[in-house]
Amino acid sequence: MVNEKPIISMKKINKRFGGVKALESVNLEAYSGEVLAIVGDNGAGKSTLIKVLTGVYQPTDGTIEMDGKDLVMNSHSDAIEKGIDAVYQTLALADHLDAASNMFLGAELSKKFAGISYLDNEKMRSEAERVLKERLGVVLKNMDAPAESLSGGQRQAIAIARAVYHSDLRVLVMDEPTAALGPQETARTLKLIDTLKAQGLAIILISHSLDDVFEVSDRIHVMRRGKCAGVVKTNETDKQEVLGLIVGANKQAA
């Protein structure tokens, strides 16, 4: 643990959809410079949990604290404003636009000439190049190439660069970042996670791949049937124990 106090702590979060209890009294803490992995079976509540964290859903009850202060988020843009953003499995990139256009999509930079404002493509391009290089260590050979011609890892980098650039980002949620990637691209993405972690971000990684989880995470938060089945330190556990928690074979308190 790098820091004593968590950036984010979710306390006794409940989320019900009608009669369905999606989350039941879930606690979660995320620290600066740490990778927290969330694992669990399909329908265990992982997605609901991060949607609550990123402001997409509002919890039925329970509180979220940021730096020890109560945090109320009514929408995803509230979360982004507070420095919490997510990169989803489906990367939300426009395939026909280049890296810079994608990175600034919906928040383009513009300048004015004779009262007419127009897109500042040059600035966006140089900023995109800078952020990709300085923050993520990624250099695209051809900045004009449309996103569809880029590799999975490069597309991932663009999606992350978007999150990094547009907010004073402190918590980054990554939903299945390696799901659609080959082994090489997976390795690059995991390296990217390390890079971001070194910059003091709190990374919350949702993954089905225990290999990936054990490679990059510091702690593992196991979800099972809407409840937290346990939080374990990665270097104090093994896949067997985590698998046991996922399927509910052994009981262990959080």
């Binding site: 999509l105 383009e108 897109l119 590799s151």
Partner: protein
């Protein structure tokens, strides 16, 4: 470090393919006509006719490029052009409006119709194909109701200048208007939020929505631009003929869509080719003019436009297929049982038709005089 390494010829060519395609076909037509009818085709007066014909479609092709890039389509532009022209004609001829007010009214009314199309598509969730096709009937119907079969003719100089005027020793005014709309279109596409979002919406509508782009609003903008440009085309057409009637501009829709698609803008959205649309309009005008020069009946025009649409869409789709496998050749097509069944179906239908024609021929008597 992630570095893009693979970059074959195909990828290098890809950005330019939109412009190479129509240009190649333009040269093909020029070459063909150069051999068959050089004297009449390359006359200065004929080139002027080609340009004037193209000019009429240029503003609409510019706007249609945005609509199609957003995965939309507008099949109502011919009727919008006719109806706005008729309304303008009434304002000028019956209510004695000054010509310039009439022209501005036409543009505004055109954009209003476009706005209406956009709202029907985005708010009532009527699919664009059906929505604009139905509105095509509505606008055409209103034009017929208003004009009642009349031909309104003889307009003030401003209108005829817009339609067929010419700056001394320079290009015709409609051509200049067409080029100006494309300069505007290029700026809109490359340098404005509208252009950027049009590509994003066509490329990945969900992503556009997720990044906070107001997808519906930008769609409405595109249809509005389309309507305004159709209105402008209506004014240009009226000025060119110095007359307008309710049945004017019947083939605008497919002609403009053909020009845009042949220019490389993808019907599947996201791929905008502004220069390609310009070249596409020129290409179609040259093709139609070639048909006229070769004294082929006017009615073949619509056959030619349709064939051009099918061929260019099929060609661009084929180009984009990444797992193209040309090695197996034609035999592979018939190896697939599905294709074999389709092939048999073609055979059966052809056979039935041949038998029917034979029966008709054998049992036919003397033809009765019709009417």
């Amino acid at each position: 470090m992630t570095v893009l390494t693979t970059k074959n010829l195909n990828e290098k060519l890809e950005p330019y393919i939109a412009i190479i395609g129509p240009l190649a076909m333009i040269f093909l037509i020029m070459g063909f006509m150069g051999v068959v009818e050089p004297a009449r085709y390359f006359r200065l007066s004929n080139l002027n006719i080609i340009l004037m014909e193209a000019a009429l479609y240029l503003p609409m092709a510019m706007a249609m490029t945005f609509v199609i890039t957003q995965r939309g389509i507008d099949l109502s532009i011919g009727s919008v052009a006719a109806l706005t022209a008729i309304i303008m004609a009434f304002l000028i001829k019956v209510y004695a409006f000054p010509a310039w007010v009439g022209v501005l009214c036409a543009l505004t009314i055109g954009s209003l119709f476009g706005l209406l199309n956009g709202l029907i598509i985005t708010k009532f969730k009527v699919p664009d194909l059906i929505g604009t096709l139905a509105m095509d009937l509505v606008y055409r119907g209103f034009a017929l109701v208003l004009a009642k079969g009349l031909v309104l003719a003889r307009f003030p100089d401003l209108i005829t200048d817009i339609g067929r005027g010419r700056l001394p020793n320079f290009l015709p005014i409609p051509v200049l208007i067409g080029i100006a709309t494309f300069v505007l279109g290029y700026f809109l596409l490359k340098r404005t939020f509208f252009g950027r979002y049009s590509i994003a919406i066509g490329s990945n509508p969900e992503a556009a929505e997720m990044t906070g782009i107001s997808v519906d609003r930008y769609k409405v903008y595109a249809y509005m631009l389309m309507g305004a440009m159709a209105g402008l085309a209506g004014v240009m057409l009226t000025g060119k003929l110095n007359a307008v009637q309710a049945t004017s501009a019947p083939y605008f829709n497919l002609h403009v869509i053909a020009a845009v698609v042949v220019g490389g803008t993808s019907l599947f959205g996201g791929r905008a080719a502004m220069l390609g649309s310009f070249a596409g309009v020129l290409l179609l005008s040259m093709m139609i003019n070639a048909l006229v020069t070769l004294r082929i009946e006017f009615f073949w025009q619509s056959v030619a436009s349709g064939v051009v649409i099918i061929l260019s869409v099929a060609f661009y789709t084929w180009l984009q297929k990444k797992d193209r496998d040309g090695a197996k050749g034609i035999k592979a097509v018939f190896a697939s049982p599905d294709n074999l069944k389709l092939f048999k179906l073609v055979g059966v239908i052809s056979a039935v038709l041949i038998v029917l024609l034979a029966i008709g021929n054998l049992t036919s008597g003397t033809p009765a005089v019709s009417g």
